[in-house]
Symmetry: C2
Subunit: 477 residues, 2 copies
């Protein structure tokens, strides 16, 4: 890597190219190819997410990628939100279609008409279904690989309940799932915001979104979970017969972790001036063995390396026997983010030991071969933990507060989130949000979930009226 | 199930409905929804396939679902084969696109332009990449859920080599992978055919396809592997610099297991008059525990059932505590194909035992609780083996031979494959194939892979000219 991480935007582009994470040369604007180096990690992330969802009662299903226009247009807010960016199929073979078909930008309108057919009584509820798929949105904003592309990779979970309380509990469960996976396993820090009313998911009652920060201090939205209330169930007739014999509309939620975007956040958060740094669980290669060989010791060292590789075959372990120098190999595998490197030569073998180097700290230590498996396990876990801690401590340093427009202007230059007193997170607050956006290029991300404090006696930083709520401002991707 | 399996076509439709494998009520012709009961199995099949491919050196990648028209039209045979059934995107948001975009019917023309950029020297080869995805083809033939739909679920592996020999070895490896997975793990019997020249994949040099039989004796094509030669590498400029400094075109293969179709074959092969029968590894629920409870023993039985469930939590084990009768529960879980059922009541508990029933044979046996895990493992393995054996023996009874048109006409009525002497599997043989199709409604599937026997002195059953090769005829889906 020739570019330091402080120049984040250039670093981002360079690492994508150097580590071959994404190829921008596909001849269709806004569409990219994701080669194995990134796809392997994304597949592991998918697996982890799917397991976690299934453990909490979700089941997988497959719904069509094409949605007839009339479905998409059934819910009025939803259609207004999505139709401007839909890819439309209008021909098949040599014929024009009678009805235009949307490539799914999200699947509410494909799934909920089926839910209406599947749900009869209370015993069918809760119904918790997810699908892992691609979605397509003709973004008009500038695209950026993994962060904003016209095709992206996600999971969408769509859940149905008999009561409002259960639906609200599901929103909470989705937030917990996000914490367990993104933070505890991937080491990505974030805050959950309840979005202001003017910035929620099209058709939702409320949107709760996990916002992280990128190294340049700008925020990036990660998974969001939406309380849909009965908005969609009334449109698509998703009802159940209650014990009292009455037909009642169901309560719904949906949750959408975008794997490609979480991946962007993952390597941006942990990467450094040498390249990628992956948590142990996610690395495509977890352990790389570099033989230190001379001509006369080659056979013996090779044999020992193969032995170690076999010993560590429960992990994703590789050995680099290429003709390159050890220094070249160190750089290459550091760039690719391999968490642990084993170096072993004749002298080590004679001592019954090898050297284990950590990608995150660069620390090296001698390890007795009979303790190797145990040490690798320990160092791997310690590395993941260290990445998470480092990220947390960096993240918490980017939480600011401001009580006036001037203070906001100053605080926002430091990067991160600024908590400000605000007049309202309802529709009427949008004017103030627009004014701040205009003046400071910031977005209002919403109120922090769980933040019960009231801005007593404070004034909205935008309009000066008495503040009713603390909201957070940030520059965003 | 009200319909016996002998009435296969009706049985197929009924089981799909009764076991909720597929919902045909999505409002778009040729597109279906795959609910959890089937999606869970398909996901397991995907995982097994992906692991096997990765073990043999394939790596995952993600390529766009949309392919610009000019890519698709670059290879002339390929375009002729696929363009008549492409779904075209012509609009995005409110605007017309400048170039039409194809929803991928298969990904050669999306992937190979990238391969041309990725491959430089011999050290980049072999390059073996797969992706798991959906593809879309506007089939004009009648659609049938899982078997022929306008959207289907597959894996496509696209491999590149320096030499023809290596590419041919890959075709062989793909056939071995098919055998290992489809036959040995899923219990599906099939034969590999080299397709006649008039029936190969559009753009391929040769196509090798695994053909199975459905219970009605008609054949269904399962995974096929294609020797592409240099046809595509010359069009897309996929070259490498050889050690002699010369630029050489690569040799390519591709392999495409359609998971949705393999699933059709799976439940059709093993299912019976009571419903689904799954191999142990693939069942969404592997063990179902049915408590036999009376009012006064309920608490104790429930406790023991929970204990057994925890003990078997390394498997997909469920317990049915619903208010239905044991008989109702037996039928329900038999319909859903659960391989092993545990029945346990107070009397069993007192004996320190339970009853284990097998889905395939219906056999019941008493098992001591301390031996339960071991017995479940053994019975599960034995059940899968038995399904495979039963299928093999049924399949081998459907291999016929015929030396004349009259014999063919008689043999084909028995269902299955008929080996016939034939004039040629090159382009000139197509007239004879068409004649047989017209007369007997059969298709020529090709020569059996590995069959070296020559039809000495025999005559083509269609034209009467001296036969050059044995080909197989069958009625097909």
């Amino acid at each position: 890597m020739d570019i330091p991480k402080e120049n984040f935007s250039e670093w981002y582009n360079e690492i994508i190219k150097e580590a071959h994470l994404c190829d921008l040369r596909y001849n269709l604007k806004g569409f990219v190819v994701i080669p194995p180096n990134a796809a392997q990690v994304m597949k592991t992330m998918y697996r982890i997410y799917e397991e976690a969802l299934e453990k909490k009662g979700h089941k997988p299903a497959y719904f069509p990628a094409l949605i007839p226009e009339r479905n998409l247009k059934a819910e009025s807010e939803h259609v207004a939100g999505f139709v401007p960016e839909v890819f439309w199929v209008t021909e098949a073979g040599l014929n024009k279609l009678e009805e235009k078909l949307a490539m799914r930008p999200t699947s509410e309108t494909a799934m909920y008409p089926m839910y209406a057919l599947w749900i009869n009584g209370k015993s069918d509820l809760p119904m918790k279904i997810y699908q892992s798929c691609q979605v397509w949105r003709h973004e008009t904003k500038a695209t950026k690989p993994f962060i904003r592309t016209r095709e992206f990779y996600w999971i969408e979970a769509h859940d149905v309940f008999a009561t409002e309380e259960e639906a609200l509990m599901q929103v909470k469960e989705d937030m917990e799932t996000t914490e367990e996976i993104l933070h505890q396993r991937f080491g990505i820090p974030f805050i959950f915001f309840k979005r202001p009313q003017w910035d929620k998911f099209a058709g939702a009652v409320d949107t709760y979104a996990a916002d992280t920060l990128m190294p340049d201090g700008k925020t990036l939205q990660l998974p969001s979970t939406h309380m849909l209330g009965q908005n969609f169930s009334k449109v698509f007739n998703v009802k159940y017969m209650d014990e009292d014999g009455a037909q009642k509309f169901c309560w719904q939620t949906c949750y959408g972790p975008a794997i490609s975007r979480i991946y962007a956040s993952l390597f941006s958060t942990h990467g450094d001036n040498k390249g990628l740094v992956y948590p142990f669980e996610l690395a495509p290669v977890q352990v790389i063995i570099i033989p230190i060989m001379k001509k006369d010791t080659e056979a013996e060292v090779r044999k020992k390396v193969e032995e170690l590789k076999a010993k560590l075959s429960h992990l994703r372990t590789e050995a680099d026997f290429s003709n390159n120098t050890p220094g070249f190999k160190f750089n290459k595998w550091e760039l690719l983010g391999v968490p642990l490197r084993i170096e072993i030569g004749m002298r080590d073998i004679q001592k019954g030991a090898c050297v284990v180097a950590r990608r995150d700290t660069g620390e090296k230590k001698e390890v007795k071969l009979e303790k190797l498996e145990e040490e690798i396990r320990k160092e791997g876990a310690s590395l993941s933990e260290n990445l998470c801690k480092k990220a947390d401590s960096w993240f918490s340093g980017l939480m600011h507060e401001a009580d006036s427009d001037a203070e906001l202007g100053k605080a926002i230059e430091k990067g991160g989130f600024v908590r400000i007193p605000f007049c309202s997170d309802q529709k009427e607050g949008e004017v103030c949000a627009d004014r701040l956006k205009e003046k400071h290029a910031v977005n209002i991300r919403g109120s922090r979930y769980g933040d019960k404090e009231k801005p007593k006696g404070k004034k909205c930083v935008a309009c000066g009226k008495p503040a009713s709520i603390f909201l957070y401002a940030a520059r965003q991707y």
